[in-house]
Structures are given as C-alpha cells and as structure tokens.
Amino acid sequence: MEIWDLIVHRPILNFLLLLSNVLFDNFGLAIIVLTLTVRGALAPLTLKQLQASKKMQDATASLQPKLQQLRKKYARNPQKLREEQMKLYKEAGISPLGCLSSPMLVSLIIQIPIFIALYRSIIQALAVTPQDLLGLSQSIYSWPIVTEALPVSGHFLWIDLAKPDPYFILPLLVMGTMWISQRMTARSTSADPQQQSMQNMMQVMMPLMFGFITMTLPGGIGLYFVVVTALGIVIQSFVYGWRNPFVRPGGQKGAPRLPNLSDLKRALSPFDQPSNPQEGASHGSSGSKRKDSGRSNSTSSGATGTQQRRGGSRGPQER
C-alpha cells in the first residue's frame, strides 16, 4: 500500500493541488485538466483495448452465418456442436473470455489503479471534514506551491465540489454521457438472447446506477465522471466512429428499445441455466424451463427480436 501511495496516489494528489494553485485556485479546472492529462496519457492503452474489442465484435458478427449452419447441422448432437463452435472461434482468433482476453485485460489492469488514485485524490483534496484534512497532511509534499493550494476552492460554475449537486444537473450529465458512450460501442453481434438482454440492460442500468451514485457524491466526483466519460466518447469515436445514439445497432432509426421484464429475467438468470435453447433438449427435465424461456423471447418486443431475426440467430423461431 505504501508503494501504491508513493508511486501512484501521492504524485496524482500533489499534481492535482499544484494544478489548482496554477489554475487560479480553481479546483474544478484542476479536476478537468488532470483528468484530461491522465486519460490522455492512457489513451494509447484505451485505443488498443477498444480496437481489440471491436475486432472481436466484428469477427463474432462475421461468424454468425457459419454458426447458424453448424447449429442446423448438429441440432441433435450438442456435444459436437460445442466442439465445432469452439473450433470455429479458435480459427477466427476469438477468445471465449471475451473482453477479459489480453490485451484488454492488461489495459484494464493498468488503468483501473490509476483511476482509483485519481478518484481518491479528488475526494481527499476536497478535505471537507477535519479527518479528511488530517489525512491529506500525510500525503502532500512539502512544496509551498502545493501547500498554498489548500484549502481548495469548493466552487466551480454552479457546482459545490464538496457537496452533491442540488440541481441534479451533474447526475443527468453523467447519465447522458455514459448512455451515449454505451450506445456508441453497442453491436448486435450476439445471437444469444441472454447476452442480448444483458447488453440492453447494461446500456440503461449502468448510466442509471452511475447517475444515482453521482447524486450522493460530492460535485467534484460528478465532474470527474462527466469529463472521463466525455473524453471516453471522443476516444471511442476513433475506433467506432461517430454514431447517432438514437440509431439502433442494426441501422433502424428511433429511440432504442428500453429493457423489459423479460430482459431482466434473462440477464439475471442463474449461471447454470444454459442460454441456448437447443441445449435444453439434451438436459432432460430442464427442457420445459427452457421452453418457457423461448416463449418469453418470442414475445419480447422491439430490437431483440428484430436483431435475432436479422442476425439469423437461433432462438424461438427455430424451435
């Protein structure tokens, strides 16, 4: 922990305070500049991660016709089907670990500690309570330029950086930017209705959750979330290109479909429940459950059903 403090946390914290002093005692500007600096420095890694992700998505999408053929071919032999699917994935260079595959994992492992340090530094530098300030005393350098920055100015635009935004503008901005970011990387590659549902759920739930969290945290953290996500959108645009978030991944215009109860059920269904309805046939008594699941799929409205049909996916129609 001391090495972490020495190498990552303290330099970031002190740089933040230094920036605050240099930028006319404006801590809001300091948060923005530091976030841009750190995110910019990590941009090559982020780009690599996004490129790997896109490559995998594209490859997965290109395999869909072959996967469908395999499903038809081995409809009565699930074991062989799995083997052939894995063989196909392997030939295409797709890792079944998805986004946890290298180099994405490496990229995440490097980025997450830095973001934790940045996030903690902002909380610590705001030093709202005496405990916070005492903690800060153990982390800042003895440089006058850093000491003079204290206490940091708590106001930036309409935001009191030390308190939750009473007007809820920041939570809305966090939700908006995060939703756009999610929509930009969304692809209808998965033929698995469970994964589709999960993707739909996350596109809405993630922004909502972060928006809710922002409502309860100091404005400085909300500002950080907004800047991080906005810059993330810019970086994503280099890989995915600019995309109208109101256009569904398949190309249809209109508001994206909101997740419904079926999506929630599917997304939260236990790990043990196979997502492929055809697997059910080989699992005896669990088959009836899967039948229900299939009906649920077919009745679910909007994009999921459309995507499944367009993608030629397996699912209720094939049953």
Partner: protein, 404 residues
C-alpha cells in the same frame, strides 16, 4: 474446451470490469471513515463531560475510582441537512462533535458539528441555539461571552444565554475550524483562508490580520505580548498582540476599509509537517506538537533555539498539558501513547506514560487536584480513560460509544 454453459458464464464475466468500476466508486466513496468527531473531555466538580460519537453529551462521575456513573446523557439535535444515503452521508451528514466542552459557572457549553451550540445545566437540562453552519471549534468563554467560528467562515459572539452580541457576524474568507483565544479585549482565531485575525471582542471589528502560507486550523496561545500559532504550512509563528491604540484605530475605521496586515516577529521552520494544535508556553519555551509526530520545545526569544523533546509514531494533534504539581508536561499521540515530558530535560527526554492502544486525537484534560488525566481515546469504540499522571496506571475507563 468451453461448453455453451461455460461460454455463457464467461460472457457474464465480461461485466467484471463494470462491477470493478462500481466497486471502486462504492468502496472509495462510501467506506471512507464517516464524520466521527473527537470531543475532548472537561472536568468540573468531580464530573467529566464529553461529547460522544453517538451524538450525545455525557456527564460521568467516579471514573477515577473505576465506578463510572452516568449522571446524565443528552442527545444532540438531529442533522439539519444531508443525504440519508450512505455515500452522501460521508460528506454532508454530521454525526457528532469535534469540540471540547467549556465550563463557565454552573453551565457547560459545547458545539456540535451540526452547528448547534448547547448550554447544559449541571442537572442535564439544556438550551440550544442553531448557528447556521457546521462547527468544528470548541467554544471559548471569556468576559461572559462565548466566541466561536463555523465552517462558513463566520465568527460570532454570544452571551451566556446564547443570544448574539455583535451587530453583525465577522466573516472570514474560509472555514474557521480552530478555537479562538482571548486577551485584553481582543479575540484571536485562525481560518482556512490562511489568516489569523485579531478582532475587537466588544464590537467584532477586525483590528488586523496576519497571513500564513497555509490554512490555520490550530488555536492561538497568547503569552508575553505575543500570539503564538502554527499553520498547515509547517511553520510556527510569533506575532505581536494587538495594542489599545490599534483597537481604537479599528473602532474609527470606516466600514469596508481593509484592516492592516500584521507581520510575524519570528518564524519556526523546522517541523516536517503541519501544526494542528495549540501550544503551551512554559518556562521560557513554547511546547508544541506537530503532525510529524514530534513535540518541539522552542525558545520564546529565539526560534532557532529548539529541541525535539518527544518523538512519537503518530500525528500529534492534542495540545500539551502541564501538571503543575509534578512539573511535567503531557501529550497524547495518534500512536495511542500518552507521553510525559520533563521540561528541564534535554532532547528527546520523554517517557511513554501509558499506551492506550487507541489514537489520542482529542485534547486531554487534567485534574490538577488529584493528578488524573482524562483522555478520550478514539479506537473505534471510543473510550474515556482516567489515567494516573504519576504512574500511568489506568484508574478507570468508560466506553462512550456505548459498546462494552
């Protein structure tokens, strides 16, 4: 190879990074220490008074004979504002008090973090007044007046019935966390705006201000015609006190005209961290602890003549207290130790009197008659100790957080 089921599981693993990010937010934002406060005890007529982290004010007798008896316990008022959510609570929801009670006649005064000032009678009956913003400082009672500042940077004077005395509150540039000091009709206090203010106690008009290089969270000490104060810039200053002539000049000064800037007479620059606490002036030396864990004894007349008389393994944020009969100075440290310092000894001649195994963050109180130190240690379960200043033996203890 991977089955479809395994694939499904692995697909769900894709959400691990998202969960990790959420965990970061929740862990770092919500599990940081909540506002706990550290109230030091006051002792009067055989009863110890202390604020607790449960948001109550406690009167406790017989602690020194290990038969603690709760004379009474009163609840502080509930929070005025703040989110009921855990994360918001960390920042905006107060839980207790940082202030140490002040006894004046038959009443005890204390302020809580919520911004209330309380006046307790000896039987526990209470009168309170909301002051408008969070309070970290302890009340200073002098000249039948209560002086205190709040986190909005307001400094004000109340009579003992808690009525405002000045026409308008004095407004500093930032938070006032430190307790004030009074001398010859002038009240001195520091602010997070880096300034030490000298204010006319009768009118609330600024006489002068001194500017440090960092926030001032400590309490000034006044002796030998000087105001001694340390700041969060690792420096300790000696500034001449305000004169009668300056006071008269301030009274004549037109509204809106800035008060003059005072320069320090001497500056001590050898500490390795901030000064958070009040100094003690005794025997020609200034005894002051620093957040670097050391207690410095500085020659009043020559700040370059100093010695480190006590080295601890934690921050020192408690003011040194003098036991006159023993001629010893005592100080508590974040490392849980209570140290005794012989003022006539050399460098690093302190002894560890007691190890409470709990950070000592609040000012200690000494009963000069019985030689007992009252220490409110902050070990999570928060305990009030009575320690024999001669032997270091724990004479009694009481868990103020209500956990046995």
């Amino acid at each position: 190879m991977f089955s479809s089921t395994t694939k499904s599981r692995l697909g769900k693993l894709a959400f691990l990074p998202i969960l990790a990010m959420l965990s970061i937010v929740l862990v770092t934002g919500c599990t940081s220490p909540p506002v706990m406060g550290w109230s030091g005890p006051a002792f009067s007529e055989g009863v110890a008074y202390v604020g607790t982290i449960r948001g109550t004010f406690l009167a406790l007798s017989n602690l020194a004979i290990n038969r603690p008896h709760v004379e009474w316990e009163q609840k502080f008022n509930p929070a005025q504002a703040g989110s009921p959510l855990a994360c918001g609570g960390r920042i905006s929801r107060a839980m207790a008090t940082y202030g140490t009670p002040a006894v004046a006649g038959d009443r005890i005064y204390i302020a809580d973090y919520e911004g209330y000032i309380y006046s307790f009678a000896l039987d526990g009956s209470v009168k309170d007044e909301y002051t408008g913003a969070n309070i970290v400082a302890s009340p200073l009672i002098a000249d039948n007046t209560i002086f205190i500042g709040n986190t909005d940077g307001e400094f004000f004077a109340l009579d003992l019935q808690l009525n405002e005395k000045w026409d308008a509150r004095f407004k500093a540039g930032d938070k006032i966390w430190g307790t004030a000091a009074f001398h010859d009709g002038v009240v001195y206090f520091g602010s997070s705006d880096h300034k030490l203010y000298a204010i006319d106690a009768d009118t609330g008009k600024e006489i002068w201000h001194f500017s440090a290089e960092g926030p001032i969270t400590s309490t000034p000490t006044i002796a030998s015609g000087y105001v001694y104060i340390g700041a969060n810039d690792r420096k300790f200053y000696a500034i001449e006190t305000a004169t009668e002539a300056e006071r008269a000049e301030a009274a004549q000064r037109a509204e809106g005209e800035p008060a003059p800037l005072r320069e320090a007479t001497q500056v001590f620059t050898h500490a390795e961290n901030w000064f958070w606490t009040q100094a003690l002036v005794y025997d020609g030396r200034i005894w002051v602890g620093s957040l670097d864990g050391n207690v410095y004894a500085i020659n009043e007349n020559d700040f370059d003549d100093y010695k480190v008389v006590c080295q601890t393994n934690g921050m020192i944020q408690t003011p040194p207290v003098l036991m006159e009969e023993l001629g010893l100075i005592f100080v508590g440290s974040e490392d849980g130790g209570v140290y005794s310092i012989d003022p006539h000894g050399g460098t690093n001649t302190s002894n560890q009197l007691a190890d409470l195994n709990a950070p000592v963050l609040a000012p200690m109180c000494v009963d000069q008659q019985t030689g007992v130190l009252y220490i409110h240690a902050q070990d999570g379960t928060h305990t009030l100790y009575a320690v024999d200043a001669r032997t270091g033996d724990t004479l009694g203890s009481y868990p103020t957080s209500g956990e046995e």
